[in-house]
């Protein structure tokens, strides 16, 4: 009965009264032990640092919550910075005034919309993430979050990449297609949109991390 490999023997007393507790608790690293010690209270241990599979999931859910808060900043900043990137040059002719706005580029419109949607999604998914912390066994919540995060990865990546392509053409131009680089004239507009694209790509990285975290927390055995 002393070797660690032996099966757990539980003595069940058929008489009234308490059975003597001689069984040793199963090691914590064997999650498939059919007998779980339910009444083990982790008193004194902080909420997030408890051991076992549930504690691991709680920790992952807490990191998930933090990452969502971190990702909210760049997406909102990118959306706002691009939407307010109005620039008018001091040069103007009789018929034409040189002005650049995000409206003039359908790609930037898509960029603003996608980042705004991502920011709203992050705010709305915060309660689900909190539920994931409180109830570590609820894998349905994590699955929903994973599906939403995957869709958001695709959306924000598409928006950021399309905007990056347009920003690249605005910076460098294209000799073959005779597209003039407009950043020579519109400095502020170019700077703002470039910064927004960079912030959006940071948010994409965080979204990918969120997907991986959710997948890790869904597993029955801690990864």
């Amino acid at each position: 009965m002393s070797s660690a490999n032996e099966a757990t023997v539980i003595h069940v007393d058929n008489t009234t009264g308490k059975a003597p507790v001689t069984a040793q608790p199963p090691p914590a690293a064997a999650p498939t032990a059919p007998v779980q010690q339910q009444q083990r209270k982790s008193g004194g241990v902080p909420f997030l640092l408890r051991g076992g599979a549930d504690g691991f999931r709680r920790c992952m859910a807490f990191v998930d919550l933090l990452l969502r808060i971190v990702a909210f900043g760049p997406t909102l900043a990118a959306a706002i910075a691009t939407a307010t990137s109005n620039e008018t040059l001091s040069v103007f002719t009789e018929h034409f005034e040189f002005r650049a706005r995000f409206d003039d580029f359908p790609t930037f419109t898509f960029f603003v919309a996608a980042n705004a949607i991502a920011a709203g999604y992050l705010v709305l998914s915060l309660p689900f993430s909190v539920v994931g912390i409180i109830r570590p066994k609820a894998t349905v919540v994590r699955l929903l979050l994973l599906i939403g995060d995957t869709v958001m990865v695709v959306l924000v990546t598409a928006a950021a990449s399309a905007a990056a392509a347009i920003v690249y053409v605005a910076h460098e131009g294209n000799m073959r297609a005779n597209w003039v680089p407009i950043c020579m004239n519109f400095h502020g507009f170019c700077e703002r949109t470039s910064g927004s694209v960079v912030a959006s790509f940071l948010a994409v990285l965080v979204f990918i991390l969120l997907v991986l975290l959710s997948a890790c927390a869904i597993r029955r055995r801690p990864c």
Partner: protein, 226 residues
């Protein structure tokens, strides 16, 4: 402890499914008395002598999902290869030429199309390389670690592919419509074949993106089930 009634001993085998010989309970050494004669009172899990469980009935659901995963990978490979090839062979030379200049368009001239070509080729190669792993998951559905690794790499390749497809889409939209404010001329007026090929390649790569999203979600479902 009363001596009139014998305590019922329940030997519990700590065996994970799919592992080898279970460790035996220490016979009657620790039991205060012999186990009762009726074997129905004692619950025993059957010792598994076969190390790998093949075709167990409870694996049907996750095996079905693994097979669907395998099929989706094969389905995603075609559009990606087509997109890579179409972008790579989208060379077009106009019959109009001047003394100094010949009007020619190639994927080289646009960095976004070069990115699409490379990313499609990388994703297609990844799909081919991940087919054996997916087949192994079909044969042995208990492996969640392999599913998790496939999910991780699928997510990364998904992000790469989406990025390339979106950048190429932006350039294709620009080539079709041009931009008034920036004075960018739509080049599709002259380069018909080039535009058609690259547009088709972009559509095919977006189809593969959708299949990749399905792959990721399916892997998450399969991990949760086990």
């Amino acid at each position: 402890m009363s001596t009139s009634e014998a305590a019922t001993v329940l030997p519990v085998y700590d065996v994970a499914p799919g592992q080898g010989e279970p460790s035996k309970a220490p016979g009657a050494a620790a039991a205060p008395s012999a186990p009762p004669a009726a074997p129905a009172a004692a619950t025993k899990t059957t010792a598994r002598s076969f190390p790998m469980r093949l075709f167990h009935r409870s694996d049907r659901g996750s095996r079905c999902m693994a097979f669907l995963d395998f099929l989706l990978r094969i389905a995603a490979f075609g559009p990606l290869l087509a997109a890579a090839i179409a972008t790579g062979t989208s060379d077009e030379t106009l019959s109009v030429f001047t003394e100094f200049y010949q009007f020619r368009a190639r994927f080289d001239d646009f960095p976004a199309f070069l990115f699409l070509l490379v990313a499609s080729a990388v994703a297609a190669g990844y799909l081919v390389l991940s087919l054996p792993f997916s087949a192994f998951v079909v044969l042995r559905p208990q492996t969640t670690i392999l599913r998790f690794l496939l999910l991780v790499s699928d997510t990364i390749v998904l992000a790469l592919l989406t990025s390339a497809a979106a950048a190429a889409t932006a350039i294709v939209a620009l080539a079709h419509n041009g931009n008034e404010r920036a004075n960018w001329v739509p080049i599709c007026m002259q380069f018909h074949g080039f535009c058609q090929r690259t547009s088709g390649a972009v559509v095919a790569s977006f189809l593969s993106v959708v299949i990749f999203v399905l792959l990721v979600v399916l892997a998450a479902f399969a991990i949760r089930k086990r």
